[in-house]
Amino acid sequence: MKEIINLPVKNVEEEEYHINMGPQHPSTHGVLRLVVSLQGEIVKSLKPHCGYIHRGIEKMCEKDTYPQIIHLTDRMDYLSAHINNHAVCMLVENALEVEVPERVKYIRTIVDELNRIASHQLWWCSFGMDMGGLTCFFYGLRDREKILDIFEESFGSRLLHSYYTPGGLMMDIHPDFQKNVKAFIKYFRKKIKDYDELLTGNIIMQLRTKGVGILSKEDAISYGVTGPSGRASGFACDVRKHHPYGVYDKVVFNEVMGTAGDTFERYMMRMHEMHESMKIIEQLIDNIPPGDYTTKMKAVLKLPAGEYFQRVEAARGELGVYVISDGNKSPYRMKFRSPNFSNLSVLDHVSRGCKIADLVAIGGSLDYVIPDIDR
């Protein structure tokens, strides 16, 4: 094993030993490798090794046109594909100073929030499974299927939609979209009670998560932990609230904030966010204004030379897109600030001194998606 690990031996105490969690391991949710240094069952330190699913998306973007880049962003955080698309579309629209129709903004906001619910549902599945409750997995997937059905009906695909284009949408929503979304919200309001009964209120789950993996507000800010994980520590970082885009400035919703910063708080943040997302959708779904679903754009989009930055609130935190354009049809340099990479960086800090089982629970509550870390 020694030649695989390549760790400096000098700081390692004699009782410590290393295990490789991953690249193939049930709790890393993908091909992430954590070299964990253990003393008995206690985690002394850990070292994440990224890059097993690195596809060079940022480099590929330098050769692609802006409408093509949209399709690559789907493949980063594939669980919030719409929101990733939204970031690039808004960046191009702002750079070209195109005003998109109100209808587009409404639809984008609704679809983003649906995507956020779907993402949190899958997180709930896998978190339950990390805790050892396999039944959660099937409950969550059952309800996520309803959202994917709505997506499939309107956009023709279930996971990687590429529904947004610079200037608007690929196609108009399906005539049944509003009816189905309202039916889903009615259905899910009932089912989310099951989630609480099965996992949130469970004494074992509460014992295992409360007070485990505490992340202070200062650390959350200095590590750049955003999204529900950052807000659980009291870091007000919701882009939707502080830098509104879409029609988030027209709806009433709470920025769900926590104080404890432990695993249970991070869990509760996402449970609350699902309620908040449903509230946002309910306010918008009946008021989608009529009009065009896209604006007329030029055949070849060329951004004026300069630097551009756009951020959105993805399901796992703040997604930033940074572009340097030299006036050509593809960017000179493109950089994604992915929420998962920052969230992963804090894993070593919060899990020191915990047990292996806690490490798995903390990893589940940080909710990382590996393709977004590696890009």
Partner: protein, 362 residues
Amino acid sequence: MNFSIYDFTSFTQWIDKLLYDNLPAFWAVVVEMTIIGLLVLLFYALIGLFLVYAERKVCAFMQNRVGPNRVGPFGFFQTIADLLKLLMKELVYIKNADSLLFNIAPFIVIIASFMAIAAIPFAKGLHAIDFDIGVLYVIAVSSLGVVGILLAGWSSNNKYSLIGAMRSGAQIVSYELSVGLSLVTIIILAGTMQFSAMVEGQANGWFIFKGHIPAFIAFIVFLIASTAETNRGPFDLAEAESELTAGFHTEYSGIKFAFFFLAEYMNMFILASIAATVFLGGWMPFHVGGWEGFNHIMDFIPPFVWYIGKTFFIIWIMMWFKWTFPRLRIDQLLTLEWKYLLPINLVNILIMAFIVLMGWHF
């Protein structure tokens, strides 16, 4: 010979007499042992297969799924197909593993559970051996399995396996106490350790009803502790798949893995059988003292059906546990045993002894 499904005693005695009449005493014993061994082995394999199927169906129903439904009627032959697959799979030999211990471990686990099943009364007159210390024997033998698990984890040359085995060792050593002490509570009430005498003692009411609240508490403690002792969820720390991939049997493949798998299910069956026998009357039908007509109707259901029904009811409860609760952490697991279950158990024994002394039980 008069054969009856309500009482196997005359049937087994007839076979015994037949053998001893026709064979020398030594060979009669040999033939008898062989027959019983084969029958128990057959029963063991069939119950194991059925339990795997039952678990898949039960967990499917709890998870909005259908479960196996393609091979045979209601997917009934799925486990047989799986067994054939496991039999034909390659046995992987691991470099730098302690091959002797590695190969012995699955056999220790399966022999321990196989030995325990010999002492369990399935119906009136239908058990392999009727020890006068049956309860003690079953507890002693079923706890041998942990040796196999520890050896498996130690010899696999895998850190996950080692962690799993150490957890399993700590867990079984702790929970063995609760299993034993909750049975002691009932032994005080029954006044015997012999399974057949225990069952006979429940002819006018099961011990769980006869022993007031202490018997009920002992039953609950036994359920929790036996779930822990069989390494099943929420106490499946030894093979916690989200932490340790598969725990102590990570490195095993083919039929050796199947042995561990089968032994886990059979341990569940054995502990459920003990719970059914000790607390719920074993093969004894449900009787209420004084209700002659009701008791007579209950007697029409064969004892074997009563036994299987009670055992599977308890197995179903264990499966329900597993598919509902998340897993405990190792320190919480040990806290539960040493700080809660053990003191409760000890106080419970005192109360039970007091009740029996004062003659307050039914």
